[in-house]
Each structure stands twice: as structure tokens, then as C-alpha cells.
Subunit: 202 residues, 2 copies
């Protein structure tokens, strides 16, 4: 293929093809785009890739992402944030979604995944021990289990509830119900069951 | 957002979001994948990006992609390839598709796009002049117009035919007809019209 696709280009196509969900055709499209575009675009992307692992790390307390140089995530050290209220999420990017609501002023705890026997992720790979430690250290009063409404999310939530069994802490989870803008007739059965169970006084 | 997404990560997300068809969510997914993956993956991608513009260029004769250091594309200089037979394609990656057939031993000429008034691409931006020059220089006997079966592909083919009008060269184009494996009832009208017009003795 060396004659058809020059070696440096096929190396780039191969590297881009490693990204999740990117097949060879998409990788080709990305590479050719970058080749035609101004060199600055490739340089910027290369620089930010070089800096990624060198400058981004996990907060040792909350396991949220933070810039190297901080001792803990600004989302934890911020004095306006209530350390007694902890939202437990699976991935760092779940924090973005919750922060966008502008309605949560507690702190976060990132598990680093969800229990999933198929993917070989057991409870010991998640940051549950560290959560248990935080309960005592920060005198946490409420833990909000903000995991996905999936089988993995539910079983991880259940597992955490068990591990926090002997702590005097309130455990809540995100409400399940109808998402805004969805017609009742299109809602699935399980969502409707949850919506009925969790009905509130109007 | 600096607190929620560390600056180096959001820079990477922004850079990835420049790729064609990549929205913010996909860029986030790519970035987070690279962060979780071994650092080697990011380094490899960054290196290949750095080398892209430095090591890949266009062949001055055929405008195919080639490594810097070659005088012309190996697809042109290869003595086994017939310089008197030229396949005209829109983009360098179209060559890959044709090479995969293993059935073409002529040379290529990359136009660098197709005439498209909407995108502001006129005939003067395409390498048509250079094609005309090659006809004389290489004593080309046949030009195969291998452009897309689209409006842009057809009008570009027509334009080239006009510009080659005074040359004693045979101009052919790729056959239009039923693609292999497609049911007659699902073929569109225009394809069927072409298939009928181009019918061959069995």
C-alpha cells in the first residue's frame, strides 16, 4: 500500500482508527481532511495530545479530572460547595452533565466505571473504598447515587448502598420518570412503572 | 468550565471537534478515551500528526499523495504502469478504491475536487490544465473519466471532455449500471436507465 497511501499518512490513518467507533473509512476521511486543512490544525491537535497525559490527572479525593498542579479538584476545594453532600457518578464526564443544571452545589465522587462482569469490571476496580473513607472524613450527610438508569448503574448503586450499610448517611438516587418532552404513549414500560411509583403531589 | 473540564482536556476536545462530522459529544468521547488509554496512543497520534504535513505532499505530475523525497508518485514512475492510459479521479483517496480492483495498470490524474459552484470550486481550481499538458507530454491514448456518478462528477467530466476536444485522445468513463448484489426492484430509476442504455451482449 506504500505506493498508494504514503507511509506517514497510513500511520496517521491507523492511529486515528484507534479512536472508539472510528473505522478505516472514517479515519481516512479525518486524515485527508487534516492534510488538506491548514497545518495549524494538525499542530494544534498534536500539541493538545502531547499535553493531555502530561497536564491532566485525577483528583486524589474525588477522582474527577483536574489539571496537574492542583492538590484536589476545584470542584472539591471550592468553599461554596457543600462537602457533606456527595453525588456519586460513574465517569468524569457525568460531572459536566450535572454541572450544566447549575442546580447542584455539593461535591462529586467519580467511581471510574460501573460494575460490569462482562467487561471484567468488579467492585474492587471502582473507587468505592475511597467513598467510604470520605463519608467519615468529610462527615457526609447525603450520598446521591447518580449512576445511569441501566442494569450496571442499578447494580453498582445497590452495591454501594450495601457497603455504606453501617454508616449514618442518607442515601438517595436520581429520580426515574418521564423525561421532559416525551409523549406518554412512547415511554417504555419500565420508565412508566418508575414514574408511577415515584409520583408526586401536584 | 475550567473547573469541570481541565483546560488541556478542553483544548483537545476543541481540536478534535474540528474533524469533519465530529460534534462536541463525540470529541469528548475521543478525548476521554485517549486519556484513559495508554499514553503511547496519544503520543503515536501526535507524532503522526506532526509528520503529516512535513512528510506527505502531492505528486507534481499526477497530484496523487506521495512521501516527500520522491520526485513523482511511485504510481507514475513504476515502469509496469502504462503512462498512455490515465484515470482521472477527483480525490487522492479515489485511487485506493481503484487500486483495490487490482485491474488497472495505467496511471492516475487527481483533479483535487469536482466543479461545484455552491462550494466555490470552479474549473480553474482543478488540475485540468496539467492534465491537458500530460496528454501531449506522455502521448496519452486514453483518458478514463473516473469521477463520481453525481451531478458534480458528471459536469466535471463534461468540462474535461470539452477541454480535451482538440486532442486526438480517446475519452471513456466508468460504466454506470446495477451494482453487484443489488436487487433490480431496489435500483433507482436513473441507475436502471443507465443500465438499459449500456446493456451488453451476453
Amino acid at each position: 500500500m506504500g505506493a498508494v497511501v504514503p507511509e506517514p499518512l497510513s500511520r496517521l490513518i491507523e492511529a486515528l482508527g484507534q479512536l472508539p467507533g472510528v473505522g478505516p473509512r472514517t479515519a481516512e476521511r479525518y486524515a485527508y481532511y487534516l492534510l488538506r486543512a491548514d497545518q495549524l490544525k494538525s499542530t494544534k491537535l498534536a500539541d493538545s495530545l502531547d499535553q493531555l497525559h502530561a497536564q491532566v490527572t485525577y483528583c486524589p479525593k474525588t477522582f474527577a479530572l483536574m489539571e496537574i498542579g492542583h492538590e484536589v479538584s476545584p470542584l472539591y476545594s471550592d468553599p461554596k460547595r457543600d462537602k457533606k453532600l456527595v453525588a456519586v457518578v460513574a465517569d468524569p464526564f457525568d460531572i459536566i452533565a450535572l454541572e450544566k443544571t447549575n442546580g447542584f452545589l455539593g461535591t462529586y465522587h467519580v467511581l471510574g466505571g460501573l460494575v460490569s462482569p462482562i467487561d471484567g469490571i468488579g467492585p474492587e476496580q471502582l473507587h468505592i473504598k475511597e467513598l467510604v473513607k470520605r463519608i467519615d472524613e468529610d462527615k457526609v450527610e447525603e450520598v446521591i447515587l447518580a449512576t445511569n438508569a441501566s442494569v450496571e448503574g442499578e447494580s453498582t448503586a445497590l452495591l454501594i448502598t450495601q457497603q455504606l450499610g453501617d454508616k449514618a448517611v442518607k442515601i438517595t438516587r436520581l429520580a426515574r420518570g418521564l423525561p421532559i418532552g416525551v409523549d406518554l404513549e412512547y415511554a417504555d414500560q419500565i420508565t412508566l412503572t418508575h414514574a408511577l411509583e415515584g409520583r408526586q403531589i401536584f
